[in-house]
Subunit: 289 residues, 2 copies
Amino acid sequence: MGFDAQSEYRGAAAVNPMVSAVYAGCARIDCVSSDNRGLNYGDGVFETMRVDHGGLPLWPRHLARLGEGAQRLGIALPERAFIEARLHEICAGVDAGVIKLLLTRGDGGRGYAPSVDAPPVWVLSLHPLPPKQTALQLHACNTRLATQPLLAGIKHCNRLEQVLARTEAQRAGCDEGLMRDMAGNAVCATAANLLAYCDGRWLTPPIEHCGVAGVLRGWLLEQGMLEVAELSMDALAAADALTLCNAVRGILPVARLGARSWRAQPAVAALQTALAKDYPMYSNTVELA
Amino acid sequence: MGFDAQSEYRGAAAVNPMVSAVYAGCARIDCVSSDNRGLNYGDGVFETMRVDHGGLPLWPRHLARLGEGAQRLGIALPERAFIEARLHEICAGVDAGVIKLLLTRGDGGRGYAPSVDAPPVWVLSLHPLPPKQTALQLHACNTRLATQPLLAGIKHCNRLEQVLARTEAQRAGCDEGLMRDMAGNAVCATAANLLAYCDGRWLTPPIEHCGVAGVLRGWLLEQGMLEVAELSMDALAAADALTLCNAVRGILPVARLGARSWRAQPAVAALQTALAKDYPMYSNTVELA
């Protein structure tokens, strides 16, 4: 199935989906039109979800973010029951994997004005779970995140900044790229939220101006295990531990960022254990040697 | 052919392409994959070009911008001779129309890291020329343009800001939306560059932080008919005339922006005449009553 074990982090080759289906509203269609607004303008939102024993444990959080993104962009959500039925079909019998849901505004090519009558076109694809990842080598990218409150927090499809930053990280031989805002403060990695352990507290940057409201970030904040705080590069260098978290991999420790490196830190194991207690699918994350 | 006379500016319905073709590198393919990076991340660039008597008079300028965009994003350009042959085929016998060339990085769905081996996937589509437009009603949009020097100037496919702004303009019953930067200075319209006639000189905002380097804007600058200058909203209100220009419509006068309205201004006619001298296809633009 063309699965390259290094692809997600090294990007040497694309991960071909195991299963993929395209819908216009509630109708299955053969393929995406070249007129599709997602294709032409990145006019859409997406969710990337971890499949566990035929289910999607974090679905309610993904749905909430999907709904907020669609609402902010004015894209109609396909009927919820229909989406959930399709997700159920695609998850059935899958022990572990990743499902991506891409929701676009549908067709209506030239001209930025959305077509009022076009149904949303959306894609479900099932992908293999990426391989176990040991601690991450993080590259501080030169590509900065622009300030745009209207798009901050949601998982929209305008991702050229992340594409450029991930390319930088790849060239540097690193697993992931640290992205800063225009003021130089740390915000996130290209595909994960950033957590820093400082003076006995786990901190994560605000996402009101740029960045994505990750579902695990949201869970950790609700649990009171995480606080929002500005994080300068000096603050990261002074941190006792850094981790990245996303819904595919859970919480992974950062081993190195530039000249700074970190060894095993009990606070990381404690956070991973707390997450695994509610979400056992993340229990197999690897700790720093 | 589903052509709505008001569609480009009012956006009531999509303009269905008259002809459309999808290519992977130099191979014709049936349709765009749901794995396409343009679809998933807006990972591409595009050009919208005016067809005149079977040719594309501004092609060299469009090609130059397409090349710069592809180079900045690290997307391979399909073989130039092949692109030009396909354009020649699609233009042949077309008296007047619009051709859109959309160039995406190709397939390689999940994960931001580009796949090194995937050929670029690109789309050519021929559209009817939009109807003659009288002077434009311009709406000052609340949607601001984010500062991102890495993407400024090129015609990339991350266009959610333009989609949101055009939606605002539509709701306000206007033809186009004026977009400002985060500092509140005017930059452009959602699909055109902005020119302001102030104290006997035509001025247009800089595009180093946001905005697109329009091909007609470039031509006017080279001719010495236009100068780059910051334009505040007060400067626009004080201007003797405003026009919008793009490669589809040429130069069109702005009749109203908020409380400010403008009547016919000889400097606008002079600019239109100068453009039509080198590019007669723009000679039929309408002047203010």
